[in-house]
């Protein structure tokens, strides 16, 4: 994306934001709350339209794209929402199967098998018949991850993938995401406030604040940034510009 501006009711959320991501890359985006991270992900899947600038996803310009273009691009994108966005009128199994079922290219038996495997991978084996309302927040998050990854999209967007999960499950989830990526070669963009977990997972990190990128570079070098705001966020100290 290049020079993208997004505002809601006159309040700027993203300001002249430029960001590129290589295919097969693994970028983590950190930042304080309300810094525009979730809006950035929604922009990448066409749920938010830019006021200005250009957004290209997998070689297609979606910033001025028609609904048909968006729908085509979205078939190659998987997204985990911050609040899970599980369909509460479907069972867990139906939720996870949905991305495959709507494509209509996979037989029912194979879908059921892949759903079972995906749920086992996220530690929820045998939960197919449960309703989302029967699950805890952490379990919903894992179902969301299973749904986002089952169709093996080329681009995966994770909005706070481990919020609400315990440290052990958090590292398991990142291991799972990394293993999936190694298998499919997809591009991963993960947004989180969990500095430690995201540093360990991402090959590259960016820090967003007030709609702008304040840092972009190797994960291991973020603590040595010249920007006091970046250093404060990473160290978690009370004193500083934040």
């Amino acid at each position: 994306m290049r020079d993208v501006d997004v505002s809601f009711d006159g309040s700027p959320v993203l300001r002249s934001l430029s960001l590129s991501l290589e295919r097969g890359g693994r970028l983590g985006i950190l930042g304080p709350a309300a810094g525009g991270k979730s809006v950035l992900l929604k922009l990448l899947v066409g749920l938010v339209a830019p006021d200005d600038g250009a957004v290209h996803i997998l070689g297609t310009d979606i910033s001025r794209g028609k609904e048909k273009t968006l729908m085509r691009v979205r078939r190659d994108v998987g997204m985990l929402f911050q609040n899970y966005a599980l369909f509460d009128f479907m069972t867990v199994g139906e939720n996870v199967a949905f991305p495959l079922a709507r494509l209509g290219e996979t037989e029912e038996g194979e879908i059921a098998e892949r759903v079972s495997l995906r749920l086992r991978a996220v530690g929820l084996a045998g939960s197919e018949t449960k309703m989302p309302s029967e699950l805890s927040g952490g379990m919903k998050k894992r179902v969301g991850i299973a749904r986002a990854t089952i169709a093996r999209p080329a681009l995966l967007l994770y909005d706070e993938p481990t919020a609400g999960l315990d440290p052990v499950t958090t590292s398991k989830m990142y291991e799972l995401i990394a293993a999936d990526q190694a298998e499919t070669g997809c591009t991963v963009l993960a947004v989180s406030s969990d500095v430690g977990a995201l540093c360990g997972f991402s090959t590259e990190l960016a820090l967003m604040h007030e709609g702008r990128i304040r840092y972009r570079g190797p994960s291991e070098a973020i603590g040595d940034s010249n920007d006091a705001l970046v250093r404060q966020f990473v160290s978690g100290k009370d004193e500083g510009p934040l």
Partner: protein, 258 residues
Amino acid sequence: MLGDRTISAAGRGTLFAWRELGGMTILAGQVLRALLPPRMDAPELLRNMYRMGNRSLPIIALTAFFVGGIMVIQAGVLVKQLNAAGLVGWGAGYAIFREVGPMLIALMFSGRVGSNNTAELATMTVTEQLDGLRALAIDPIPYLVVPRVVAMTVCLLCLTVLGNLIALYGGAFFAMVLLDLEFSTLYYSLVDNIHWLDFVHGAVKAAVFGASIAMTSCYFGISVRGGAVGVGKAVNAAVVAAAISIVMLDFLLTAVLP
């Protein structure tokens, strides 16, 4: 100044009404586009028809039965004064088919199904489920809205036809019990005087009311803003808008239809 404030409030109200009306018109256009040729999720349509139609049947039947009774009790005074027992069946049938049946059943349907539909769609909107569908390359209009519009229109039409018949039976029952009238008197009074257009008149109204309830409830559901408070406001707005639209459409259709 009070005058300025009044004018300002009236202006805000007018702008609000036009904005909502415009939003509903756009949604109606999107629904029509999805229906030509029909593009909707069949399992979702059946699921909605079951819970909107089948599950509304008991409450509609109960209401209709007593509505028939009310019609007869109201007519009873005149029947005795004018000794016009031969008109009771026709009077009750005429009123039920053309006016009371479609309107009361639509209001009941709006309260039960329309409000539920708004709450469900509004909750889905605020919990990002609609965005979740879009992100999975599913357009929520053909997938969620169109099946509901079709289901509500068809279900209200069927429930009204059924409700009208139950109201007639209710009327006959109360006429026999309270007015000592023979069933045959009521029956021949109805079939000899009622015209098939009276039935069609009510059926057309029912279908239009169903579409209107569906559009208002879906619109307020998917355009909600905010969390739980927003959902409550959306349900309230949908019920009020549906009631107003039913009455206004009833007036219009009564004037236009034969």
